[in-house]
Amino acid sequence: MLHLPYRELPAADPGVADRRSPLRFLIWLARQQLGTLSLNALFGIGWMVSQALLWAAVGAALDHGVAQRNAKELYLWVAVVIGLGLFQALCGALRHQLAVTNWMNATYRTIQLIGRHVAKSGTALTDEIPAGDIVNTVAADAMRIGGAFDVLARFIGAIIAWVVVSVILLSTSVELGLIVLLGVPILASLTTPLMRPLHAAQAAQRETAGRLAALGSDTVAGLRILRGVGGEEVFLQNYRQQSGRVQRAGNRVATPQAGLESGQIILPAILTGMVTYLGTRDVMRGTLQVGQLVAFFGYATFLTTPLRTAIEYFISTTRGYVGAGRVLRILNVTPLVAEPVRPDTWPEQLDTLEDQRSGLALRRGQLVALVTETPADAVAICDRLGRFVPDVDGVLINGHALSNFSVTETREHIVVSDIEPRLFSGELRHELIPHGPNTDERILKALYAVSALDVLDGLDDGLDATIEERGRSFSGGQRQRLTLARALLTQSDVLILVEPTSAVDAHTEGRIAQRLREVRSGRTTLVATTSPLLLEQMDLVYLVEDGRVSAQGTHSSLLASSPAYRYVVLREES
């Protein structure tokens, strides 16, 4: 394989970003790739300047070759034209390679930073910023930041080329030189008023188009319902209406867009006209050769390129700046639960875990159930026991406050499988035991315990199978059993399961209930459930009403003694 001068991206470590302001963030990104940016600028300059100098060579060929009737001079200058052309092609190609490299560097580093932050922030981030917004920032804003770096080198090249052309003209005619030197920035600033209505119209178009796309995906997502219940006509009408709005919003972009492009024709044409007029008069007076006139005309038309590049640069950098602001909004969210500065040493043996506020206590080796009127009550207690909320006052491990222990160690020893645990894309084997040691025998035992061997049979590659994004190829019941297997495989000291069998049928639930005890023997398990099939397997059942334990005992004793318990579990009218 050919050795390439490309370093593989992404970098192993994206580094620590400067999160103080969007500008500082962009500058930080630039400093991470100073080398490629500088090299890129160098080729950008070579590429732009050789385009300008081409005209000098063409002019010289006409003057020294054709006008002076000297064939040798003609071919000499033609050779210079070829040389400049090839140099330009080379610089152009390398400039492009480096521009894309810079784009990738900035974009990928930004996505990496977002990805890492999303992964380690827990629910704090999604509580504050909807997941959809985070994804949009990855899909759009990160790439816009990249776009700002893509155009940077070309912009530097454009500035140098403009200076070079101005100097060339100044050396022959102060008047012409000044026109170009001052004209280009004036023209660039004249296009700014054309850009503002365009951006407004484009933003409006993107917004309506985004809504239309959402409507389209929504219709497809609910297609089974539409085809089953009806309403296709109504939805098609809605879609057509929104589509019409998008079309009209698009039409409103057409005028400023065409206007900006016409502006980019007419403004440089003013420059070309003035240069041609003054140049031709100089030719008439004999102070300028005809070839030089052609060269001047060429410079003037060439200046369109740096002009467009400057406009592109301002657009991209503005977008990149706005994008950086959105990225920082994500990066500046802090996790809900902070690590204690000097954590207590984790006990060698976890004998008790209790929540003084509700009165619930777990002892080592017990299989305990938590029964509540609504699932939300159970979730609140489980979140405290697992330290997913900042306020864990009164939660004690072996009598010591949970808040004094390290969060990482807490997660390792107390695993909470919440009401809707997720599966992630990846190889099934690793998804089931993310932290090893993964022997297939252990996995198969766990899958047997959760009655999910049939799920495995349905996969052509068995444990090697790749889970799709979010585990969407599995049914709700299958997903629930797989995530339960994952929870069991952690073999954590304490395992807390919230409604672990709500999506499986009664047959399967019965089997899981019977096998749970054996799998968790010697360890502590808390199950929040109201299912009699699970409850009858428990050592101890707590009934919690209004946040406090109101009754405890075995399932059968509670059935006999507590009408409130019977009401919740058997749904009998009291």
């Binding site: 006409l62 006008a67 997941a131 297609l223 609504t374 009858e536």
Partner: protein
């Protein structure tokens, strides 16, 4: 999972041709404007040539210069003006055609046969609705207009070169073979590369999305570093996808640019020599050289847009492909004479040779409530799908009255039987729209009655804007339990005589399910209900219970009969009621 079809090239071309025919007038007007603009753009170089000829013959005068440069200004202004009109027209035409394409596509999606929708899953269709529409948006709105302009400019510049000097123009053609072969080679490999690039963007977003949505699980299972690695992995894939096309361009860009340089140099040398040999004026030589420089730009754009056009063609094929699928269900047919439902010796297989139903026979009386219980994968849901007319039996028959369910027109079918699954969906739109889709003619009173029937009226009225509250992914978020109630209210509005409830209550929290079942019972009165039950309470309340195991009905009877039978059902029921077998 089988994919929906992709239209063949001939079909796509025919579709494109018909689009051209429909918009022929606008297209011609646009091309005429572009042509006039392109002609204007050719005038400055010609004027320079003229001025040079005057100069070498010492004929330059101030009024002459003013006249010619004035003409140059005028042509530039006219060029800008015409170009403005032409571009605006072409953008608007692009918007029109694109709107037409997406609307036609969605119309085809909405007439897809149920079984195709079920079979292909939403993934493929969703990717067509989002990615392909997006890709086509760029093609139709930008690539096609830009490409047409570039072609017009190229052709007219060539014509102008020939008019100035057919002999000198020859030299400009020297670049054609270089550009042709390098671009052909590039296109052959680049298009799949760009598709891979785009797919990699979606994978990156997807990896971040699943991490964000599963934030709680990531935290609970200490998956942060692993999810970061996974995201890095998707970035790496994107990097290699980018690198591939980047390397393609490392060869292609300099080839095309060198070809341009070669064309300029050759033209300069050739026309210069012609001028030296008095076959050409120096002004004409200049004009031709300027034209060759000028033509580089549109030629560059012609080749640069080609990959975008290829991608657009692929996307169009995927969009048009959906309209190729036709529903073979008749649009008209006889009304069933009775509401008696019969399954007779039904066999069904999703995969050939793997029957999931092995001869199921069942008669369901109008108004009966039948519960189907059994382990996962036993074929419960398949029975539901056959009764709802989504699938047809491989052999045997499934009928309402005397009519085969799979041969009933969709509108008739919906009036007779409805399937409600645990999959519920709240559409973007108001609460009213979400309900009225089941019965567009429904009045607010009908809707209120339906909501009341499912015990949802109270919370719906308490919503910020009542029935006008915007719901769905972008609107007010209701709970899954409430979404389920909305789904049931839709059914009340459709008013079919038979309801198939497939795990309808499975995702509800058990207390809400019980509540919902109770309130629904009143509505279901007099209707045939086939409940594919997860919860045994449902079976207990049913008129009859069918126990399905391995594609067969092994027990069928009332709850009491089956309990007395001491079979599968009895043992399940006892364990649910916490009564050991010894207790009976």
């Amino acid at each position: 999972m089988s994919q929906l079809p992709i239209a063949e090239t001939a079909v796509v071309r025919a579709h494109a041709r018909s689009l051209v025919r429909q918009h022929r007038r606008d297209l011609i007007k646009m091309l005429v404007l572009y042509s006039l603009a392109a002609v204007m753009a050719l005038i400055p170089a010609w004027i320079i040539g003229r001025l040079i000829n005057f100069a070498v013959h010492h004929q330059l005068t101030d009024p002459l210069i003013t006249r010619y440069v004035g003409a140059l200004f005028l042509s530039s202004i006219t060029y800008a003006g015409l170009s403005f009109l032409a571009r605006r027209r072409s953008y608007i035409l692009g918007e029109t055609v694109f709107a037409q394409l997406r609307e036609e596509f969605l119309a085809s999606v909405l007439t897809l046969p149920l079984v195709e929708v079920e079979r292909a899953g939403t993934g493929d269709l969703l990717s067509r609705t989002t990615n392909d529409i997006e890709a086509l948006s760029r093609t139709v709105r930008f690539a096609v207009p830009e490409w047409l302009v570039a072609i017009v400019q190229t052709v007219l510049t060539l014509v102008a070169m020939l008019l100035v000097s057919p002999l000198a123009a020859l030299a400009g053609l020297v670049s054609v073979p270089f550009i042709f072969f390098s671009t052909r080679h590039y296109l052959r490999y680049a298009t799949p590369g760009y598709m891979r690039e785009r797919a990699s963007y979606a994978t990156m977003s997807g990896a971040v999305a699943e991490t964000a949505e599963g934030a709680r699980t990531v935290d609970a299972h200490r998956l942060a570093s692993r999810q970061s690695e996974r995201i890095d992995g998707t970035i790496r894939e994107s990097f290699y996808a980018e690198l591939y096309t980047l390397l393609m361009r490392l060869v292609w860009f300099p080839s095309v640019e060198s070809a341009f340089a070669l064309a300029v140099a050759t033209t300069l040398a050739w026309s210069g020599w012609l001028a030296l040999a008095h076959h050409l004026t120096i002004g004409a030589a200049t004009t031709v050289t300027l034209y060759v420089v000028q033509i580089n730009d549109p030629v560059d754009r012609i080749v640069a847009w080609l990959d975008e056009l290829q991608i657009g063609q692929t996307s169009l094929a995927r969009l048009v492909g959906v309209s190729v699928v036709r529903d073979d269900r008749p649009t008209q047919g006889p009304e069933p004479t009775s509401e008696l439902i019969t399954l007779h010796e039904v066999h069904y297989a999703y995969r050939p040779g793997h029957d999931v139903l092995n001869g199921v026979s069942l008669t369901i009386q109008p108004g009966e409530r039948l519960a189907i219980v059994g382990p996962s994968g036993a074929g419960k849901s398949t029975i539901g799908r056959l009764l709802a007319g989504i699938d047809r039996p491989r052999s045997g028959s499934a009928r309402i009255g005397d009519v085969e369910i799979s041969q009933m027109p969709l509108t008739t079918l919906r009036e007779h039987v409805a399937l409600i699954t645990q999959e519920h969906h709240i559409f973007i739109g108001t609460m009213r729209e979400n309900l009225a889709l089941a019965k567009p003619s429904a009045s607010d009173i009908d809707i209120a009655q339906a909501l009341d029937a499912v015990d949802a009226l109270e919370w719906v009225q308490a919503l910020p804007q009542g029935l006008d509250t915007e719901l769905g992914t972008t609107g007010y978020q209701i709970t899954p339990g409430q979404a389920q109630q909305v789904a049931l209210a839709r059914l009340v509005l459709t008013d079919p005589h038979t309801l198939v409830l497939d795990e309808a209550t499975a995702l509800l929290d058990p207390r809400a399910a019980r509540h919902l079942e109770r309130s629904l019972a009143a509505v279901l009165h007099g209707r045939t209900v086939i409940a594919i039950a997860h919860r045994l309470q449902t079976a207990h309340d049913a008129d009859r219970v069918a126990v399905v195991i391995e594609g067969r009905i092994v027990e069928l009877g009332t709850h009491d009969e089956l309990v007395a039978l001491e079979g599968e059902y009895a043992s399940l029921w006892r364990s649910w009621r916490n009564e050991g077998p010894e207790a009976s």
